[in-house]
Amino acid sequence: MTTQAPSVTAGTVGRSLRRTGPHWPSLMFMGLLALSLLVTLLALLFLIVDILDRGLPVLMERGVDFLTSPLSSDPAEAGVSQALWGTLWIGIIVAVTAFPLGIATAVYLEEYAPTSRLTRLIDINIRNLAGVPSIVYGLLGLAVFVGLFKALGFGNGRNVIAGGLTVAVLVLPIVIITAAEALRAVPLNIREAGYGVGASRWQVTWGLVIPAGFPGILTGIVLALSRALGETAVLILAGAVLGSFSSGNADLMGQLLGSYTALPMVVYRWTTLPQEEFRQLAAAGMIVLLVITFAANGLAIYLRDRYARSW
């Protein structure tokens, strides 16, 4: 090369391009981040190993019997069948009430409501509601839903519908917030393209914005469902029974209108009993609850991916 080298400032002349040593601050920062991850993972790992260690032997030994047996004061016979039914019903009630209601609210807030001071106030309030302790929702459920069923003459009103509706109200803010965020993330230019070919607001919302935001909405649904299935404090107040009086094994009407319990309730109950065997049963119950939650999440993620591809 015979071309004239460009003039260089004196300070850099002759300086090697090679690094002289490790850059300690960045190494330390990276190490700190990795350590944080490790701590988190270890805590989670410890929890899972502990639960599996105690619960798996019970599940191996009892097998399906653990799932189909009713609650009992004898640890060798006790199972979670009523709790499974209760949790299933709560999941269904949340799915048919909180999901459509929450998504519709989010669509209204994001796509239809004018951007006014009132809308902003409502938005902030919904965000705050998501942070309200669940015990407060339990009180609300007791006062409103349990009271309503009682007033309508359904026994003491403490049935799984009242409990499910209470949990639905609890997760409603989560559904609304995540769905609204998913809709907000849909690029404005998709809406413009829709309006540009003469689509009405309804056609743009239903045909373009909701499908584009649907994977994000599903994520919100997963979060809400996981929260709903694991919720305990709310159910204590909203009338789930702790003992073996649950009519979870009754016919449909009995299940819906009789006393009920749910998996986290039963786990909580068992951990408070003195016998060591019940502690193992509790661990087994946790495994069942975890499997159900993971399965629900897995299904939602599968649906989301399939949808994202096919749309």
Partner: protein, 265 residues
């Protein structure tokens, strides 16, 4: 493209007539007192420096700016004599008659077919959708590129193809006027040239109003040019308009001359 014959199209009717149009965002006036007759079957380029309200003006013609809550208009915009902002005028119907192609190609995250078919579908099209999609893609010079992959996502196409897909989508609703908001600003020179050739073909059937930053594009591919600039109050106003050759080669205003020769803007 200098050899393109710039014969004035035979029909010289006015399709859109602006009368003292001012456009506002809240209390800010973005465009001031613009009057201009847009001729049918012509390509009219709107040029001017950044921020002079070209896009605002364009987007107000098919009432796209209705989507901006604070936007409002005064004056009259007549479409075949009917005020686009008159009482009872449905903006959805306006946009069916006056289509739009945007600055950034914005295909729906759907298949190529569904992208083109979306407009006809929402407008209750009853005929043969396959034929309409093919015809629209052909008119947008995209058919040969995509005829074997109509089921694939429109997002998978190249930038220039995406913009032609957007043109096909706009054509599919059979609008009378197509508004183009800097359609080539994100495209390479080759794709830009393809779109310009396409515009010249489309002029046979449609009226095109295009906002462009690209002076050569306006000179090459338009019949008429409207030059806007910004006043001291930051509101855009019309400086000069007329046949593109006149505006570019024989401008009457010093402002126009400076702008088209690249001395400011």
């Amino acid at each position: 493209m200098a050899d393109v014959p710039w014969t004035v199209p035979p029909t010289s009717d006015i399709v859109i007539r602006l009368e003292d149009v001012s456009l506002f965002y809240g209390s800010f006036r973005a465009v001031r007192d613009i009057s201009y007759p847009f001729r049918t079957h012509a390509i009219t380029a709107i040029i001017g420096p950044s921020g002079c309200g070209k896009s605002t003006l364009l987007r107000s013609i098919n009432r796209m700016n209705d989507l901006v809550p604070s936007a409002h208009a005064t004056g009259r915009m007549l479409f075949h004599g009917e005020d686009l902002y008159g009482d009872g005028v449905d903006p959805v119907e306006v946009r069916r008659r006056i289509g739009m192609v945007f600055q950034k190609a914005n295909p729906f995250p759907k298949s190529i077919f569904d992208n083109v078919a979306f407009g006809p579908r929402v407008n209750g099209f009853k005929g043969n959708l396959d034929d309409l999609v093919e015809q629209s893609l052909r008119r947008a010079s995209l058919w040969d590129d995509v005829k074997d992959k109509l089921k694939q996502s429109g997002m998978a196409l190249s930038g220039g193809q995406q913009q032609r897909l957007c043109i096909a989508r706009a054509i599919a609703t059979e609008p009378e006027v197509i508004l183009m908001d800097e359609p080539c600003s994100a495209l390479d020179p080759r794709s830009t040239l393809l779109i310009e050739e396409l515009m010249l073909e489309l002029r046979e059937r449609y009226t095109i109003i295009i906002v462009t930053h690209n002076m050569q594009q306006a000179a090459r591919a338009s019949d008429e040019t409207v030059f806007l600039t910004m006043g001291d109050d930051r509101a855009g106003y019309l400086v000069e308009a007329g046949a593109t050759t006149d505006v570019f080669t024989n401008p009457t205003s010093k402002l126009t001359e400076d702008y088209v020769s690249g001395r400011f803007g």
